[in-house]
């Protein structure tokens, strides 16, 4: 590979601009000196533009050919076995998605600047937005598992905190905690994959997963290790992209402001899992079980989402499930090895769904105005024809209305037993102290076991 020095410098600007925005906005907020709206808006627009321009030029200058260009900025932390380096792995897919991410982020930043004008959480929104853009660029371009994991965590935390953006109400806050709980499962799977990679390969380089340069990329893994890492990655992807069985969090995430719903669940965050699987295609091609698993989950999710989206009573949830349908199909395409189609599908879908999300409030506003003017709902198109026998139709409707009973199932299988067991241990701990202090346990000392 020829020298990619200009690309290295461009990458610094591309990723550094949103990171600097995060530091500046976060730092001034922590110092209780938040910047005025005008400055925040300009800084956000400037950093997104700089990032987009730098990444576009980097994409143009990226040497063509198979394989990925490896960019390292040296050891960030040392250790006997090499330490943690800040590394990126650049190819047309990763840089292409990064360009798409910054373009969409720029549009959403401009839209949010007006949409959230004089909102009390304006500054907080942009802090979290900057964290998200930094995170998604890390995910798209990561060259080792540490960078990937950092990006994964940034995306997850900013997503949960934006779901709770209207934190004066209990609903968004409760839903954000549910979303974050699923994200933590995803994070744990990602970290476990990273650790296992380190353990078996002695390196955290993603070229072990995403393949080395060459005409036919090959991973550096084999056998059970490859299968374990692939399955863990699929679990991580399923959590982050709301695939089954983790789809229950998606409608809950619609509590956030519309621009964040658009950028997360219409355009970028929900596709983060797809881009990760797309980059890991060499690993998937090596492990048939993982391809079957990914394909099965993708197909099931697409079917589930397409049924569910038809009975949603609010536009954002309906759009979110429509997004999920497409995400499921993209995952199937990746599992089938149709990389180019999957990438084009992803790009097209992200842009289209972003437009739908951002225009949804205006469409609703217009429809309400029209409804007031003509006296009936203009969207009313009559009852759709049944798709099955009435009994099946009713059950399907109930299934879709209850969103597949996924939340109830997770509660019953995981949350309630976890709470019960942990509470029992807690009571035991209190009892030990009671014994030591020669006092019996009292009712008010026990925690509620609901």
């Amino acid at each position: 590979m020829t020298s990619i020095f200009p690309v290295e410098m461009l990458l610094v600007v591309g990723i550094g601009a949103p990171a600097m925005l995060l530091i500046v906005l976060g730092g001034t907020s922590l110092a209780n000196r938040p910047l005025p709206e005008r400055w925040t808006g300009r800084l956000a627009a400037g950093s997104m533009t700089a990032s987009f321009a730098a990444l576009v030029v980097a994409l143009v200058l990226l040497p063509t050919g198979p394989g990925a260009a490896h960019v390292s900025y040296g050891a960030w932390s040392t250790s006997h076995d090499g330490g943690i380096a800040i590394e990126f792995l650049l190819d047309a897919t990763s840089l292409g998605f990064a360009v798409l991410a910054t373009a969409i982020a720029g549009v959403v930043a401009a839209f949010s600047n007006r949409y959230l004008h004089r909102e009390p959480g304006y500054n907080r929104y942009f802090v979290l937005f900057a964290m998200f853009v930094t995170g998604i660029l890390f995910v798209a371009l990561a060259g080792n598992v540490e960078v990937l994991f950092a990006g994964w965590e940034f995306v997850g935390l900013s997503s949960a905190l934006l779901v709770a953006f209207f934190h004066g109400r209990a609903g968004p806050v409760g839903n954000a905690l549910r979303v974050f709980a699923v994200y933590r499962i995803s994070d744990a799977a990602m970290l476990a994959a990273a650790v296992w990679l380190h353990h078996v390969a002695g390196s955290g380089s993603l070229s072990m997963l995403f393949g080395e340069s060459g005409t036919v990329p090959q991973t550096g893994l084999a056998g059970a290790d490859a299968t374990i890492i692939a399955v863990l990655l699929i679990v991580a992807v399923a959590g982050k992209s709301a695939l089954l069985p983790f789809s229950g969090w998606l409608p809950r995430a619609m509590e956030g402001p519309t621009p964040s719903s658009a950028v997360y669940y219409g355009a970028l965050s929900i596709h983060a899992g797809c881009i990760l699987l797309l980059r890991a295609t060499p690993l998937l091609e090596q492990v048939l079980a993982a391809r079957l698993l990914a394909g099965g989950i993708g197909a099931a999710t697409a079917l589930f989402a397409t049924v569910t989206t038809r009975v949603q009573s609010d536009v954002k949830s309906s759009l979110a499930y429509a997004s999920l349908t497409q995400v499921g199909i993209i995952i199937v395409e990746i599992a089938l090895g149709l990389r180019a189609i999957a990438f084009l599908h992803l790009v097209g879908h992200a842009c289209f769904r972003l437009l739908q999300f951002l225009s949804a409030p205006n469409v609703l506003h217009d429809l309400h105005g029209l409804e007031d003017a003509i006296g009936v709902s203009p969207a009313h198109g009559g009852r759709p024809a049944p798709v099955a026998a009435p009994r099946v139709h009713r059950r399907l409707f109930l299934f879709a209305l209850e969103r597949g009973f996924l939340d109830a199932m997770l509660d019953r299988v995981f949350v309630t037993p976890f709470h019960r067991i942990a509470s029992a241990f807690d009571r035991f701990d209190r009892l030990q102290c009671d014994v030591v202090a020669s006092r019996t346990v009292t009712a008010e000392d026990t925690i509620h076991d609901d």
Binding site: P120, A150, A164, L177, F180, F425, I447, H448
Partner: protein, 472 residues
């Protein structure tokens, strides 16, 4: 002078000066200012002792018998500024209502004991300082409202002190060298360290003291993690791999246990207690994994989780001073009235869990890598604990600062931070995030310390061998 020990002497004078000043008829706020100044000077001095290249070398101070009494090595270079920072945090952020003359004196004495502990490798002196720190903690619980907690602490930590004393006597007495009594002695030291660290099944006193005892003294007693230091200095160089593995397995289990129980608490204080247990157990697991990466990760996590946790618990104290006892079963709201306090809580909580961009991230990465190398399956307990603690922190944040409107428009009750509190939290966060973005100085020192400790281990370990089964 040919060495830098006078500098260290100055360190000892500062807390002693505060202790002496507390005996004078001085206004309480003025005494606090004296304490803050002394703590700040101590922090600067310890940083100079640790990292200033212009300071002359400090050869070990030896007893007349030739044993090393005090030394400054890579490990103490890391721990001295850490102890000073904890003191500064304590005196700068203690709410006015919880401030008292005895407390400031106790804090100074406890810091002096911690500092001296981190400078010594002498088992006997460590035992004496261990007793001093337990005594200062017990004296903080002397009020009638804390009799139950005093009894619990006296039982657990009294037992651990007796075990440590007996263990040191058996391990280091010339007559027991090479006999089974030496092995028994090391086991007793191990149990003493486990009790002090709150490792399962010796942990019940930790949440109890955090919940119903005095939170401030509990933080100052727990955060320096003297139990971890005893483990590093007395246990790791001598114990067999099997014994260390047993301790590491218990610690990994405790990390998950504490994180899981933190998630279901209805009391913010008790949740803090379990969070501390979990993080402190991760440190212990790192120290006992006998891998350079895990050990270095354990050291980094010791500093980052200790400071972050102390800051987090201080935020809880500050919030309690404004609202009373904090219940996690309901939402309290209030973000808009105290955004900096809320953001500090969240940032410190995330730093505690090793979130990317904080010092704990580098430490946790090293720790989990080292732990999985030693325990290919059980090492993933670190991953589970990390996921659960992150969730517990966010749950606490939402319950304490969100979920309820901030009252009618125009309500202007001041619930924010004082200037001193805001500066302290900002400095702490700057340190944690700054060292998270550029962790090499700490990580390099941590590796230097881990190499030095592992080099002390005898090649075939002779003490404390247990019949362990095959690796899980």
């Amino acid at each position: 002078m040919t060495d830098g020990w006078p500098w260290v002497g100055v360190l000892a004078v500062l807390p002693l000066a505060v202790a002496a000043a507390s005996l004078l008829p001085m206004d309480l706020e003025r005494l606090r200012r004296v304490s803050v100044t002394a703590a700040l000077l101590m922090l600067l001095a310890t940083l100079a002792v640790a990292w200033a290249p212009w300071l002359p070398a400090m050869p070990p101070v030896r007893t007349p018998g030739g044993d090393v009494l005090f030394r400054v090595d890579a490990l103490s270079s890391l721990l001295l500024p850490f102890a000073s920072a904890l003191w500064l945090l304590t005196v700068a952020v203690t709410p006015r209502a919880a401030l008292d003359r005895h407390g400031l004196r106790r804090t100074a004495v406890a810091t002096l004991a911690t500092l001296a502990s981190f400078l010594t490798q002498s088992a006997v002196l460590l035992f004496v300082l261990w007793i001093v720190s337990v005594w200062t903690f017990l004296s903080a619980l002397s009020g009638p409202a804390h009799q139950r907690q005093r009894r619990v602490v006296a039982a657990y930590l009294g037992a651990s002190s007796v075990l440590l004393g007996a263990g040191i006597a058996l391990t280091f007495a010339p007559l027991t060298q090479g006999t089974r009594l030496e092995t028994v002695g090391l086991w007793l030291i191990v149990v003493a360290a486990l009790v002090r660290k709150g490792i399962f099944p010796f942990h019940a006193w930790v949440p109890e003291v955090f919940d119903h005892g005095r939170l401030g003294p509990a933080i100052l007693f727990s955060a320096p993690q003297l139990g971890a230091y005893v483990t590093v200095v007395l246990i790791v160089p001598r114990a067999s791999p099997d014994l260390l593995r047993l301790v590491a397995v218990l610690a990994l289990g405790t990390a998950v246990y504490g994180a899981a129980l933190a998630l279901v608490q209805t009391s913010a204080r008790r949740a803090c207690g379990y969070l501390f247990m979990s993080q402190s157990a991760l440190v212990m697991a790192g120290l006992d994994c006998t891998s350079p990466s895990a050990l270095a990760g354990g050291f980094a996590l010791w500093l980052s989780a200790g400071l972050a946790f102390a800051g987090l618990a201080r935020v809880v104290l500050v919030l309690e001073a404004r609202r009373g006892r904090l219940d996690l079963s309901t939402y309290h709201g209030g973000y808009e009235r105290m955004p900096v306090l809320a953001a500090s809580f969240l940032a410190l909580g995330l730093a505690c869990t090793g979130f990317p961009g904080t010092l704990g991230f580098a430490g946790q990465e090293l720790l989990v890598g080292g732990a999985v190398d030693v325990f290919p399956v059980l090492g993933f307990a670190v991953v589970v604990a990390s996921a659960l603690t992150g969730l517990a922190v966010l749950r606490m944040y939402f319950a304490l600062f969100c979920g309820r409107p901030d009252g009618p428009a125009g309500a202007t009750a001041h619930l924010g931070l004082t200037r001193r509190e805001a500066l302290t939290f900002a400095a702490l966060l700057t340190a944690l995030i700054g060292l998270g973005i550029a962790p090499r100085p700490v990580i390099d020192s941590a590796f230097e310390a881990s190499d030095a400790i592992l080099s002390q281990r005898q090649a075939p370990a002779t003490i404390g061998r247990v019949e362990a089964g095959p690796e899980p």
